[in-house]
Point group: C2
């Protein structure tokens, strides 16, 4: 069969960029890699999981009064489409983020990625609906939109993320084209790829714009817990008085990625023609029954066990990780100061937390440059141009520090400096 | 927000039928239920899973030479998008089904349901492409098609499933409407909901029609292992000399549903405009990176551990289950003979295996009838009309015996008889 005979998304470079990155990483396994945005490897053994499964089973028996047979059914049978650990998730977002929602407004998903797919499929009625995205933008959301043939309108990000004025301007552009701006995707805390965060004032203004413009906000928050400075700004969902926000959560960074467990909070009432009212979460659930049926009860049980063990407080569960990611980001900033400080043509932002920052360079940082960097200098990074729907980011690279040890970070930046020198 | 303002699938009764079934089951928890198509509850405890995780870890260390640290990474980090147990799956389908494919042509999915979504999204280019489905049909495929706005054309099933002539007629109807018949969805073994199976000759004729009409075949095979008679007919994929078949596998019934692990076999070469060749599996993988990123490595490890423990032979792993499902189906057939034998207006088919059969009744078997049956007679079943895209099945009910004990089956059919009598 011909590639051009398949769905258009498969001919879109967007879905190939991640493949290129994986390939180049595999081709140069000894290179120091600032590319992957994934958590550092921890010493995890199957015994740890067994302990968490056991903790979850004990919670079901003791706190919920289930029989052993019922517990077995909950772990190994098909499960509730909206998920089984929704009450634990509700308790966790209340404790950690001050987000007070009914457990019924939560859908447990196969990672935040499935949450994006469900939210897009539910909210976007037809080809007249447009998704606004902060630009540069995580490819997971633009990729999911591409699968569903949903048009995307970029909203340029400033040093403090997207602001309400830029959103209003994008809304006006879309409306002028006769289409409906339906939702905005944004990572307000330590964004991937830029590392920027929105101040509280900007968040309040964004929510006001969403109300004025009848826009929903998809708030993705995988990194919020990992503050470098110790300060936290309230999430959009916490500030969301008018239920404009669908919150996309992930346990990949706060529990472990191999569970593939995330969640969507969708507490918007949905009114049917017969007057009956459901929650948007119920509608997401109907879609989920046709994408993955339910999120692996085994994986939910492992995450559930971690949550009950730590009293539904991810902050307590992640003390060690919070410290380590802070060290890594500090180490990256220090290494940049050491090796690039005062060097003309180079510059970088100083994120308040998370895994990423952006280094501006005086050359075109494309795939050819990345291949040379890996082959000749043993260092990998991600071209920022990957994260722009159109033009943008040509002379910028994303550096991720989450996966590297502190001493690798310094050596990696040293190699980056050598690679950059080769351009002169 | 208004329901009518969301995606059209959410206003389609198709996505609501399963909700009604779940609700009625919850409202009458003491009723004997022939409704759920799920496996019977086994005594599973978390220790069993720990043992399988351990078996998988040992396999990776001993047979694949990985270090403990690498094994930890494979279980708990993000994983390969196409999956991690693809080699074990390839060995298993070779041993059990004589399907010889490269592990690279396999994508491990979040249940067969995600496999359907990926295959539909890849193969269907635009709104001119039409999906043929055996009718009556499992709602998972028509629901997934609805999410992607893919048009569906029913192919009426006979007592031996779909036949090539009916497929060719449907192809002609679609072509006459100016659209492209792109793929046919079929469950050749012990179909859900009808229980029918295709004879080998019909399978060969179907594959010939697929070649002639440039049609792909989505072969879904969740029940094939559970033969009542002990005889097995070769799968379409085994007979597939021209790579027309995308095979959708599930471990829900053969390992356990709570893993949510399935797979797609897509060994078709795909040629890009630049002449480069990939496998259809690689294209499904690109889509999967935007739906669920990867199937839970933890869940894959549990299934992988079950496979290595049983030498990649599901038949050996499932000896007990094969026996039990055979007993249940035999019990259901015997109970129908006992309580409905010779009663005018009633009739049923005699499937060679699987979980389901169809009872024809002399009244309209709709939601109102189901509610009365549950409330007044303590027995639940599924209206066959749920499984028809248009009209059909109004006087038929699906009986599933997989979830019931043998003695419950007899009592259930006795109640069904009492309920049926109340119509006279």
């Amino acid at each position: 069969m011909q590639l051009t005979d398949l769905h258009g998304s498969l001919s879109d470079p967007l879905l190939d960029t991640m493949n290129f990155l994986n390939e180049v990483t595999a081709r140069f396994p000894d290179a120091i890699s600032f590319a992957p945005g994934r958590p550092y490897d921890e010493r995890f053994d199957p015994g740890v999981v067994a302990g968490y499964l056991d903790a979850y089973a004990k919670y079901l028996e003791r706190d919920r009064g289930l029989s052993q047979r019922q517990v077995g059914g909950l772990l190994f049978q098909y499960g509730r489409t909206k998920g089984q650990i929704h009450e634990l998730v509700a308790a966790t977002v209340a404790a950690d983020e001050g987000i007070e929602v009914s457990p019924e407004s939560i859908v447990v998903t196969v990672g935040a990625q499935e949450g994006m797919l469900l939210a897009l499929r539910a909210l976007f009625r037809d080809s007249g609906d447009v998704l606004l995205v902060a630009s540069p933008c995580y490819v997971g959301i633009t990729g999911a939109a591409r699968l569903l043939d949903i048009a995307v309108e970029p909203v340029p990000e400033g040093p403090s993320g997207v602001d309400a004025a830029a959103v209003r301007a994008a809304v006006a552009r879309v409306r002028a084209g006769g289409r409906r701006p339906r939702a905005l995707y944004v990572v307000p805390d330590f964004a991937n790829p830029s590392g920027t965060s929105m101040p509280e004032k900007a968040r309040r203004e964004l929510l006001a714009a969403a109300v004025d413009d009848d826009l929903y906000v998809l708030e993705d928050n995988p990194y919020g817990l990992f503050s470098r400075t110790g300060r936290r700004v309230p999430t959009l969902k916490h500030l969301d008085e008018h239920r404009r926000v669908v919150y996309l959560g992930s346990f990949a960074k706060t529990c472990f990625p191999g569970a593939r467990v995330g969640y969507a909070i969708a507490d918007q009432p949905v009114v049917a023609p017969d007057g009956s009212v459901t929650l948007l979460a119920d509608q997401l659930s109907k879609i989920k029954s046709m994408t993955t049926v339910n999120t692996s009860p085994l994986a939910q049980a492992a995450v559930g066990g971690m949550l009950v063990t730590h009293g539904c407080r991810l902050r307590s569960l992640n003390e060690e990780r919070i410290r380590r990611y802070r060290e890594r980001l500090e180490a990256l900033l220090a290494a940049l100061d050491r090796h690039f400080g005062g060097v003309a043509g180079f510059g970088w932002n100083v994120p308040d937390g998370g895994f990423f920052l952006v280094l501006t360079v005086p050359f075109v940082a494309d795939e050819a440059a990345l291949t040379r960097s890996a082959r000749d200098h043993g260092v990998l990074w991600t071209p920022m141009s990957y994260f722009y729907a159109g033009a943008g980011g040509e002379r910028q690279i994303r550096l991720s520090c989450s996966y590297l040890d502190v001493d690798e970070i310094d050596e990696g930046v040293r190699r980056l400096r050598r690679f950059a020198r080769s351009y002169r």
